[in-house]
Assembly symmetry: C2
Homo-oligomer: 138 residues x 2
DNA sequence: TAGCGATTGTTGTTGCGTATAGCAATCCAT
DNA sequence: ATGGATTGCTATACGCAACAACAATCGCTA
């Protein structure tokens, strides 16, 4: 079947993103996490007492949609909330949350290594800067 | 805010894909098409009398989900169905569909050019092969 | 310091895309 | 001719993200 699509960088970008996302999702499901969960754990771990709003801004997730996400992490005993003032709550990892963060980190690093390994050496180190140029100048 | 995520190729891949997909969607909405619609028009145009099943396999869309997609294109007068045998139907573009396909193609090519233009020249031509390595070896 | 716009966390609702199961009709290879 | 695979389709359900709205609080400024 003739394919007029896959020579487009934009199309291949979407296909590659889908394929790799599915693979990462499968790996993370081993420890009962979704990709968003893992992102949140890493972000909270690196920024103790961040607010839900700040996380949403960083990940481009609307405030409203953060609620069920964080609730799930809290119900799972992975994060705690510290009232910072009468309005904002700082988020921190619990001991369990920190453990899970480390597990997620290990999975992600292994996954990223596997990704890079798939790319021919002469293209390999060009991918990240090219992608960042696309994303950040959007 | 410290960001432990964006130096990962996999993460940047997803972010870049989202950002660029949103941009393409905006451009295609000018002619009343979604990205899937445009993909289908290009694919059908390049492969007259393809079947819905074949299209689904090519685009990784389940048979069941092709139905409303093609129905919309048919209702819009962009495609026609030719019974190939008692079971399969070949899909072809109508005259209007061919016109719309050309419009979509122009938009897509302009969009892809804009994408590449954003990437520093020394990384530019490495993107496509790197992405294809990720996608096809998935 | 009183007031006002902006911010935070939250609820509820909606729409879109996709996965899943099932079904009748047809094809194709043995 | 028969059984397994394929095609097109219905119906349903789930997850994710957008949107509107709201009360409470913060922080700047007049």
């Amino acid at each position: 079947m003739h394919d007029p699509l896959s020579h487009y960088p934009g199309y291949s970008l979407r296909r590659a993103a889908n394929a790799t996302a599915a693979e990462l999702a499968a790996r993370l499901s081993d420890i009962g996490l979704k990709q968003v969960d893992a992102s949140l754990l890493l972000l909270i771990g690196a920024n103790p007492d961040v607010t839900a709003s700040a996380l949403g801004r960083e990940l481009d997730i609307q405030r409203a949609n953060m609620v069920p996400l964080l609730k799930r992490l809290e119900d799972g005993g992975l994060i705690d909330r510290n009232p910072l003032d009468g309005k904002s709550q700082g988020l921190v990892l619990t001991a369990d949350g920190e453990d899970r963060r480390k597990e997620a980190l290990a999975i992600i690093e292994a996954f990223e290594s596997a990704l890079l390994a798939r790319i021919p050496a002469d293209h390999r180190h060009h991918l990240l800067p090219a992608l960042q140029a696309l994303w950040r100048n959007a």
